[in-house]
């Protein structure tokens, strides 16, 4: 019997183990054994596996349509350009944006650096009367404040530290409370007249918590601050409507959402992208160039200097189609169930401390935890011997770990291809960690 393709099932049905087992057939990497055990992949928060449709989309591009985009009049160049720009449209629809508001990047980190450098370039341009008058409003300087949160990934912290350094602005942060939630009372005090930028993560890659975007955006709007959303852990897992969320910028990475590495997305409101100076300059982003100066194209080309990641963009569109056909709401519901199962199980194991929301409270399908007396590296090694892939370390969130009194934790993160059995085997393995290490 041929299994029904996942996307042909009625979208109202909830995901269940039977369908997930069919979904797994689309992912070649998931059928392998590791250390003699069937692979249980619980590291999708770091990078996800790819379905055949994505792998084939990239291969098909190279076999049939490979050419540089936006230049050349030959057949392949037209085909490549169409595929590249169709991919942009696919991603735009996926997140509720307009086509012109999607800028390709290498990954979310590059997207955040792009915004921060475009803002400091805005500061330089405004000081010299270059560009549109509105740039003055976007300039960042001494006395201005950039606000982040204590739970940020380094990628949404360090670019802002450096922007503050370059411009003389001050970096402030919204602390977390004991449960790991952002302290909104303090946020309301910190976000004020001097705030130029508020940058925060939609969903924490460590705590699994989903931040209250609407409340934070409302605070920023009161003071005319720009809002930058790190959507790395939300775009792959839940239905995003960026227009509804009303953020000014958002970033995410393709490789965390079934696509290859090397492709990421920066969303920016069109009027902002068209006003901001570029970050990287060079070919493909100009209108007129003389030996002295250049005029730049509007967004998105304004921010896409040099030959782009064409096949990766095409593959990302295939990944987005795979997710859309499966249904983001269904994926989100399934992963929430897996996340709850993880946390409830981990909380029952002696000596295990789960970071972030307790069982029963909303979280995405991941859980970072500490095992008393056993270093995360040893936990990860122990699980690996059982074929279970997890992430160990500080997960690029050193300040958050320090705040929680830890240096390293173990993180399990699920995706649409994980079953409840994966979680149960993971929990069973974790329950054996302390006795193995004689704790």
């Amino acid at each position: 019997m041929v299994a029904t393709p996942a996307h042909l099932l009625p979208s109202t049905s909830v995901l269940d183990n039977a369908e997930v087992l069919r979904i797994r057939n689309d992912f070649p990497a998931l059928s392998q054994t590791v250390n003699g055990q069937p692979l249980i992949y619980l590291d999708s928060g770091a990078t996800s596996q790819n379905p055949l449709s994505v792998i084939e989309a990239e291969q098909e591009f190279y076999e049939q349509r490979n050419a540089a985009v936006h230049r050349g009049a030959h057949h392949l160049a037209v085909e490549a350009t169409d595929a590249f720009e169709d991919a942009r449209q696919t991603v735009a629809v996926f997140i509720g944006a307009n086509y012109e508001e999607i800028v390709w990047t290498s990954n979310a980190t590059e997207g955040l650096n792009l915004i921060s450098y475009a803002l400091s370039n805005a500061t330089l341009w405004a000081a010299q009367g270059r560009g549109e008058p509105r740039l003055k409003e976007l300039a960042v300087g001494p006395g201005d404040e950039i606000v982040v949160t204590e739970m940020e990934h380094h990628a949404n912290l360090i670019p802002w530290q450096e922007l503050a350094f370059r411009t003389g602005a001050t970096l402030r942060y919204i602390p977390i409370d004991g449960s790991g939630s952002l302290d909104l009372e303090q946020a309301a005090e910190i976000i004020g007249e001097s705030t130029r930028v508020l940058a925060f993560t939609h969903a924490s890659n460590v705590l699994g918590i989903i931040n209250p975007v609407h409340k934070l955006v409302a605070m920023a709007r009161e003071h005319n601050a720009l809002v930058v959303l790190d959507a790395c852990q939300s775009a792959p897992h839940l239905a995003l409507d960026l227009k509804k969320l009303d953020v000014d910028f958002a970033v995410f990475s393709g490789h965390k959402m079934l696509a290859p590495t090397g492709i990421g997305v920066l969303y920016g409101k069109q009027e902002l992208l068209d006003t901001l100076p570029p970050f990287l300059t060079g070919g493909s982003m100009i209108t007129t160039v003389t030996m002295e100066r250049a005029e730049y194209l509007p967004a998105p080309q304004r921010f896409e200097a040099g030959t782009q990641r064409i096949s990766q963009a095409v593959a990302l569109a295939a990944a987005v189609n795979y997710l859309s056909e499966t249904g983001l709401d269904r994926i989100h519901a399934w992963e929430s169930e897996l996340g709850q199962r993880m946390v409830a199980g981990l909380e029952r194991i002696e000596g295990v401390r789960v970071l972030g929301p307790a069982a029963g409270e909303e979280r995405i399908g991941l859980a970072a935890f500490d095992v008393a007396g056993v270093h995360a590296h040893d936990v990860g090694q122990f699980l690996d011997a059982r074929g279970i892939a997890v992430r160990v370390g500080h997960h690029c969130a050193q300040p958050l770990h320090r705040r929680l009194g830890l240096t390293a934790t173990t993180r399990a993160s699920a995706y649409l291809y994980n079953t409840t059995d994966d979680i149960d085997q993971f929990l069973d393995a974790v329950s054996g960690v302390r006795s193995y290490f004689r704790v």
């Binding site: 270093h375 995360a376 590296h377 040893d378 011997a385 290490f437 004689r438």
Partner: protein
């Protein structure tokens, strides 16, 4: 390779009962030279500060303080137990032999005659991601010795 070959009994024991742990406040013998080195593995946050006192070409004291996985902690413990009583040259030779085994990706077998209890870390060489864990205190010892001489 099984997990038990990586986590040999000696490693598990030393990771729990850490020899030389806690930086020594005992003054070094008169005329002794001291050296101290701090090493950090940014990947996992393993950290070791190791102090040596060298007296007339002999390793008179080794103490250390650190935080990290069982392999890094056991390795520092075994090192400090072995090093005291060695000459500086012997310790340098032992560090060299240990490094050679750990960097061999499992191709070079540890000689227990030379490496003693440290031969138990042989299995770590097959796990590229863990080699630095086993090496961190040995790198610190080498650096501290160079400062003390």
């Amino acid at each position: 390779m099984s997990l038990d070959q990586l986590y040999q009994q000696i490693i598990l024991d030393h990771s729990k009962t850490r020899h030389g742990s806690g930086l020594s406040e005992t003054p070094a013998p008169d005329g002794a030279q001291t050296g101290q080195s701090h090493q950090l593995n940014p990947v996992c946050g393993d950290e070791v500060t190791l102090r040596v006192a060298v007296d007339d070409g002999n390793v008179a004291q080794v103490s250390w303080d650190g935080e990290g996985c069982s392999i890094s902690m056991a390795s520092a413990s075994v090192l400090s137990e072995m090093a005291e009583g060695m000459t500086v040259d012997e310790l340098h030779e032992t560090i060299g032999a240990f490094r050679e085994v750990l960097r061999s990706r499992g191709k070079i077998q540890a000689d227990p005659e030379i490496l003693g209890d440290a031969a138990a870390f042989e299995g770590v060489a097959r796990y590229a991601a863990r080699v630095k864990c086993a090496m961190i205190s040995w790198v610190a010892a080498e650096d501290a010795l160079n400062q003390a001489s």
